[in-house]
């Protein structure tokens, strides 16, 4: 089996180079990046939102996340100058069970997947044109409705520019004004420098995926084009370097799985899952692929997927064969043990 694994790895690495730029129709403005990845925002063609929110898809994504309590409740940096003294408690069995249940209940909240939606459309509605006001002032005026209870996305923010046109504020201005009047804790008015190309590249090289994705979640709205660009580049980096373990059991794994399934690049993850003998998750991944692209697999979905859509057929087939052999051996061993114990 080790030999199989070795061959599959070799084959994978030989086919890797052709796979970096997956064929994606990207009719967006091509952003010149220093990074070796093309950013791939969801262009809303079709809209991923309704598919993402489907119950079946959500269940599949949760399965793929593979909840590990030790990782969900891992030690995090809280940003304070000093750590706080832990609280110790004496507990009976029931009290302990209750506390553990409470922690498990919180997992859903912690692992809530950031929504996958199409990029927001530019706002360019003109309310009125008053040429008489041309040259009244040298700067723009921004009018904001700051009454409570209005969501940030629906708040009325208008700009009277120096030409005298009263128009809807663009998204960048809206984000800035919203953050000024209704600040989100720890979000900055201007995006932090870590999202600039060279700095982001450095962070990716260091493998700080969770840091990038967490900070992007905090700083941007999910339908922000820049957010989706940052995330897509990070996802591609993770996918190419097989660093799935880094984001597993975090809230980002669902979005990541959705991204690679949407852009038809699940082969690396599939190979990883088969090799680590997580066949349920491999099935879920292929099922997710089928859901997103309207396919229907009958019988063994993994084999069918490899035959029809995979770009790394040889590697995947080898890995699957190795898994099957291992499973057969295991089964035979179990049978033998049972027989030896006089069962059956």
């Amino acid at each position: 089996m080790a030999a199989f694994r070795y061959f599959s790895k070799k084959l994978l690495s030989s086919t890797l180079k052709t796979d970096i730029r997956a064929p994606v129709s990207n009719n967006y403005v091509v952003c010149v990046r220093l990074l070796s990845y093309t950013p791939m925002p969801y262009d809303g063609n079709p809209d991923p939102g309704p598919i993402f929110i489907k119950k079946e898809v959500q269940t599949l994504l949760t399965t793929l996340t593979r909840v590990d309590l030790a990782k969900v409740y891992r030690k995090r940096k809280l940003g304070g100058r000093q750590l706080e003294q832990p609280v110790y408690k004496f507990m009976t069995d029931e009290q302990l069970q209750e506390a553990l249940d409470e922690a498990k209940r919180k997992v859903d909240e912690i692992l809530q997947i950031p929504p996958v939606v199409a990029v927001r459309k530019p706002r360019d509605k003109v309310v009125s044109r008053d040429p008489a006001l041309q040259g009244l002032d040298s700067s723009n005026y921004i009018f904001t409705d700051i009454s409570y209870g209005v969501p940030d996305s629906e708040r009325i923010i208008l700009v009277r520019d120096t030409e005298g046109t009263l128009r809807d504020a663009d998204w960048a201005t809206r984000d800035r004004i919203n953050q000024m009047y209704f600040p989100v804790a720890r979000r900055q008015v201007t995006p932090p420098k870590m999202f600039e190309d060279d700095k982001l590249d450095d962070l990716l090289k260091r493998g700080e995926y969770n840091f990038i994705l967490d900070r992007a979640c905090l700083q941007f709205e999910p339908n922000d084009e820049f957010y989706q660009k940052v995330c897509s580049v990070t996802y591609q980096h993770i996918n190419e370097n097989n660093k799935f373990e880094d984001i597993r059991s975090t809230r980002h794994f669902g979005s990541f799985a959705f991204f690679i399934a949407w852009h038809k690049m699940i082969d690396n993850l599939l190979l990883d899952l088969i090799e680590s003998e997580h066949i349920d998750e491999a099935n879920a991944l292929v099922e997710l692929y089928a859901q997103l692209h309207g396919e229907k697999f009958r019988g063994n979905s993994i084999e069918e997927y490899i035959g029809k859509f995979s770009t790394k057929k040889a590697a995947l087939e080898l890995a699957l064969q190795a898994y099957k052999n291992a499973a057969k051996q295991k089964h035979a061993l179990e049978e033998g043990i049972k027989r030896a114990h006089g069962l059956n």
Binding site: L69, Y73, K75, R76, K77, L83, Y88, F90, M91, E94
Partner: protein
């Protein structure tokens, strides 16, 4: 003696006369001119202060003053600074003239040739070297200790490290370190000597991983006392439990005689906030984070004994859980308050089995029901002053200035305002860095 000499010369001159060689006899003439009187009319002495005493005593006589003399105020001008041993650096046969003396400063035979006495060219640096040697004399200074090696106070020994204990046979004390806690002079009355002075040293040794031992040693010299104590301490090692390799297992109270110590467990990065003796002990034991408060006597030996007693009496979490027959669960903020079970008993009690006034609070349990008096902290006196109010009002507009400055520098690389674009010449003064200055000069 002089007359005897004259007598001898006279006979010698007579002898020469007998050989019929006419030599002008000056000595005889001289004798006639001199009055017939002896040169010295008193008995001569060949011993004196300077050749009766050995050089060592002479040297001591001028460089030191006796204790009794000191009490009378003698030897006030005796200062080590002025005492210079001019013999130092000088070798017999080597001098200003730089002569070559075969058999003294050079071998008699070199190869097949016999070395002859000769004058070498003068060494101009010789005197300078001697002067330098003499200048250094009397200005001796202790080697400066690095702040890490330094003890509690100045050049004193307490708090300083004196290295691992000496190996016993084949047992080496690798990884051990010894620190001095106390070094003091003690006296004892002897039947024949009277007051006898010795030095007493209390040291603590440990391997920074839970093994620790302390001992007391006495000696005439501080060094011997410390050595004795150090080697004795290595024979009395005890084991101390350290929680997660950085702190104590739980808070505790400990007492030895009138010394009471409260000890609190602390998270990583807190450091050692306690009496300096406790800090030194912790460093040797391997405890990195802890807070301790000493109440009552701060006698170093007692503080040490009380603290070590407390450390030894610590219970592990498993022991606590077994004693209480309850799970011991930890909630930390960094792990999202996930209930981490530290220890579980073999048989856990049910809720209805808990006693009515049983202590269930962990801290209360650790202090054995003792409640620490925490005095109320009153606001400082100046908060009542009118000037403080004014100060606060003035400070209010500056409250986030440092953060804003930092943000501006991060964003624009300089401190600027909304007027910067209009008036680019108005920039805050910035002192050029050293490298930039050097570049500008070059």
């Amino acid at each position: 003696m002089a007359s005897q000499l004259l007598h001898v010369t006279r006979t010698l001159s007579k002898l020469t006369l007998n050989t019929k060689c006419r030599v002008t006899n000056t000595l005889i003439k001289l004798e006639r001119e001199l009055p017939k009187q002896p040169l010295f009319n008193h008995a001569s002495r060949n011993t004196n202060f300077f050749n009766k005493m050995p050089a060592e005593d002479l040297w001591k006589g001028i460089t030191t003053v006796s204790n009794a003399g000191k009490k009378r105020g003698r030897g006030k001008t005796v200062s080590k600074k002025n005492i210079k041993d001019l013999n130092r650096g000088q070798i017999i046969g080597v001098g200003k003239a730089n002569m070559l003396w075969p058999g003294l400063t050079a071998p008699v035979i070199r190869g097949k040739e016999i070395v002859e006495q000769q004058q070498l060219p003068e060494d101009p640096e010789r005197q300078a070297r001697l002067n330098q040697l003499r200048d250094q004399m009397g200005t001796h200074r202790h080697a400066k200790l690095s702040p890490i090696e330094r003890g509690w106070s100045g050049a004193k020994m307490p708090g300083r490290s004196i290295g691992p204990p000496d190996p016993v046979g084949e047992d080496h004390f690798d990884g051990f370190d010894t620190k001095v806690l106390e070094l003091k002079t003690v006296f004892n009355m002897k039947g024949n000597f009277g007051r006898k002075r010795r030095v007493s040293a209390t040291v603590i040794t440990g391997n920074k991983n839970g093994l620790v031992g302390f001992a007391n040693g006495k000696g005439v010299e501080p060094r011997t006392a410390m050595r004795k104590a150090k080697n004795r301490s290595a024979q009395k090692l005890m084991h101390i439990k350290i929680f997660r390799n950085h702190t104590v297992y739980h808070d505790f109270f400990t007492q030895f005689a009138a010394t009471k110590i409260y000890v609190w467990q602390k998270p990583e990065g807190y450091g050692l906030e306690c009496h300096r003796a406790i800090k030194t002990i912790c460093e040797v034991v391997g405890i990195k984070d802890l807070h301790a408060k000493v109440e009552g006597s701060t006698n170093v030996t007692y503080v040490m004994k009380a603290f070590l007693l407390g450390l030894v009496r610590q219970k592990t979490h498993q022991e606590i859980a077994e004693e209480k027959k309850l799970h011991l669960v930890e909630f930390t903020k960094e792990t999202g308050c996930f209930p981490t079970v530290l220890a579980s008993p073999a048989q856990c009690r049910k809720e209805d089995q808990l006693g009515k006034d049983e202590i269930l609070d962990f801290t209360q349990y650790c202090f054995d029901g003792k409640v620490i008096l925490k005095k109320k902290k009153y606001p400082p006196f100046y908060t009542k002053l009118k000037s403080y109010e004014t100060y606060l009002k003035k400070q209010e507009k500056l409250r986030n200035k440092d953060k804003v400055k930092l943000d501006l520098i991060a964003q624009y690389g300089e401190i600027r305002s909304f007027l910067t674009e209009k008036y680019p010449e108005c920039r805050p003064f910035r002192r050029a860095k050293k490298e930039e200055e050097q570049e500008a000069e070059a």
